[in-house]
């Protein structure tokens, strides 16, 4: 049974609507039975993959983001972002992007951004006369920042799959997230002139207004700073910082008088659904990827890619194409768990830094969340915006230009990703 056949069975099963995780375990199980490898390998691999300290961060970051969304903290972040860029032409569209950047410093997941900020952003933009399509498109595009700026759930999962330092990966996301923010803001600035978007705030803020908004939003805005500071100072590991995020979110809920035990239990249950659906895929992918490794698929892919070129630039271009296509069809976690062991050895052989590749991989997959047929962000936004998914896919298309530009910059200027982690932790 070859690696290609294992992948083929997986794709067929997945297309029947079988849960992605089970679609992975079934071909791997058949492989074990056919190859007469003890089937205990399957459950041992699945359990061992979850029995991991870095992965503890996943439920905790989801928990923290859900607390923020349920505790009214997200609204304050949005108002604070208004203070910063609301006066610009197309101000609310710019606020949308800045709020996503600040929220990215807390949540680490694109869907948390869409689900949490999406409602507030789209509602506010609609009130100012933006079309529903434009509001939803900007919300979806800006949500790609979430998993790039630290903390980041996909980067933590990549770190576990690639056996690369989570801390380096998270720090590598800081400047790329700023680059993505900048290109998106430029695009919105262009549209603001072309489509005559209104200013977000039609009057100059008075000192009193500024103070009130800052006072209201400051405790929430402090959260990303506390998390970053904690990681940079070495006080907390990325996993521990997730626990700090939860503690601080609960503190803010108490401060804002939105805390209740009933509410916390509700948030816990929401967290468990998201966490277990993602981590079940991680567990399943552990045995799936193992069978591909035993069948030497990574070596075959490596030989094929190196047969085309040995140039890191060309190999990165090829992997970008592969990942963009993968991102169109696969859920992010599944794609990371499958493609990391297949593609990383080739890129390492060509001298590409695994931290840099992690960033490029995650960004490719985030773009995939905006494309048909499996654009998870779009599917999540559809009920929020009250628009059919095909209209949303069309509306988000113009934003593929800045996101594509950002992808090229991040792919071919590795220093943007690597400068900060190399400065903090050395290049080795």
């Amino acid at each position: 049974m070859s690696g290609g056949l294992i992948i083929g069975i997986f794709i067929v099963l997945m297309l029947t609507g079988l849960p992605i995780a089970i679609s992975m375990v079934v071909p791997a199980g058949i492989y074990l039975l056919v190859s007469q490898i003890p089937i205990t390998t399957a459950i041992q691999r699945m359990v061992t993959s979850l029995n991991s300290f870095p992965l503890l961060a996943v439920p905790m970051f989801i928990f923290a983001a859900n607390l923020m969304n349920n505790g009214g903290i997200t609204e304050r972040l949005f108002d604070f972002a208004k203070l910063l860029v609301g006066r610009m032409k197309g101000g609310l569209a710019q606020v949308n992007i800045i709020a996503s950047l600040i929220f990215a410093g807390i949540s680490g997941a694109a869907l948390a951004d869409v689900g949490g900020l999406g409602n507030i952003e789209i509602d506010a933009m609609k009130k100012q006369g933006y079309s529903m399509e434009d509001s939803a498109a900007i919300t979806a595009a800006s949500a790609t920042i979430g998993p790039i700026f630290p903390p980041s759930i996909p980067l933590i999962i990549y770190g576990a799959a690639a056996e690369t330092s989570s801390m380096k990966l998270l720090m590598a996301g800081v400047f790329p997230a700023l680059v993505i923010t900048a290109v998106l803001m430029l695009m919105v600035g262009f549209f603001a002139r072309k489509k005559n978007y209104p200013r977000g705030v039609d009057h100059k803020f008075t000192k009193r207004e500024m103070l009130t908004i800052a006072k209201r939003g400051l405790p929430s805005v402090l959260m990303p700073m506390i998390l970053m500071g904690g990681m940079l100072s070495g006080w907390f590991s990325p996993t521990e910082v997730a626990a700090v995020a939860i503690t601080y979110a609960i503190f803010l809920m108490i401060l804002y008088k939105s805390f209740s035990f009933k509410g916390i239990i509700k948030v816990c249950k929401e967290t468990l659904i998201s966490t277990s659906s993602v981590l079940f895929i991680v567990a399943a992918a552990a045995i799936f990827a193992w069978t591909l490794t035993v069948e030497q698929l990574p070596q075959q892919v490596s030989a094929a890619l190196l047969g085309i070129s040995h140039s890191p630039a060309m190999l990165l271009l090829l992997t970008n194409v592969i990942l963009l296509i993968a991102g169109m069809f696969l859920e992010t976690t599944a794609a990371i768990m499958i493609f990391t062991p297949i593609l990383l050895p080739t890129l390492l052989a060509a001298g590409v830094n695994p931290v840099h590749f992690g960033l490029v991989m995650v960004f490719n997959l985030m773009i995939g969340m905006l494309t048909p047929p499996v654009g998870m962000s779009i599917y999540m936004l559809s009920p929020i915006a009250g628009l059919p998914v095909n209209k949303l896919f069309k509306a988000v298309m113009p934003y593929m230009i800045p996101l594509g530009i950002a992808l090229v910059i991040l792919t071919y200027v590795p220093e943007i990703s690597l400068w900060l982690p190399n400065l903090l932790y050395g290049s080795r």
Partner: protein, 155 residues
């Protein structure tokens, strides 16, 4: 089935809170008392494994697993029913496969202990086996529903 799903969610909530508290206490212990604890770390990891596997039956019962439905969306209801039967049978097969694998591990290694808490495999794997067993029950429940309650088919 709703009650069963609720029960598993409540147990998983306990594991989620244990996970968070283990890491939070670990931070205080290390940074304030300069005394990190391997027991807390292992407890947190055990909680993660347990909560994920205990939530799989919930995902199955409530049909909240991540799926790709692009093909299903274009199928007529009768074809969707056939696919649904196939999905539930394969899901049940998956559960049986994993349960057999766990049983084989337990045959010889049920008493092998974890390094920090010294928890025997039999306890460590208990939430895993329970989760998968009830996933099987959830799949069989949906399978019977397809035939006994036609409105459920293809949902």
């Amino acid at each position: 089935m709703r009650k069963l799903s609720g029960f598993f969610q409540n147990v998983a909530v306990v594991f989620l809170i244990t996970l968070f508290l283990s890491v939070a206490i670990q931070i205080v212990m290390r940074n304030v008392f300069n005394a990190g604890s391997v027991v807390l770390e292992e407890l947190a990891r055990f909680s993660l494994v347990s909560l994920v596997f205990l939530m799989i039956p919930v995902l199955t019962i409530e049909k909240k697993q991540i799926i790709v439905d692009i093909v299903l969306l274009y199928l007529p209801a009768s074809a969707r029913k056939v696919f649904d039967v196939f999905i539930q049978i394969v899901s049940a097969g998956f559960s049986v496969f994993v349960l057999v694998a766990i049983a084989k591990i337990m045959e010889n290694n049920w008493n092998v202990k974890t390094p920090a808490i010294h928890m025997p495999n039999a306890i460590f794997y208990f939430p895993v086996a329970t989760g998968i067993l009830f996933t099987l029950i959830g799949s069989l429940y949906h399978l019977t529903k397809i035939f006994t309650s036609p409105k459920e088919a293809g949902k």
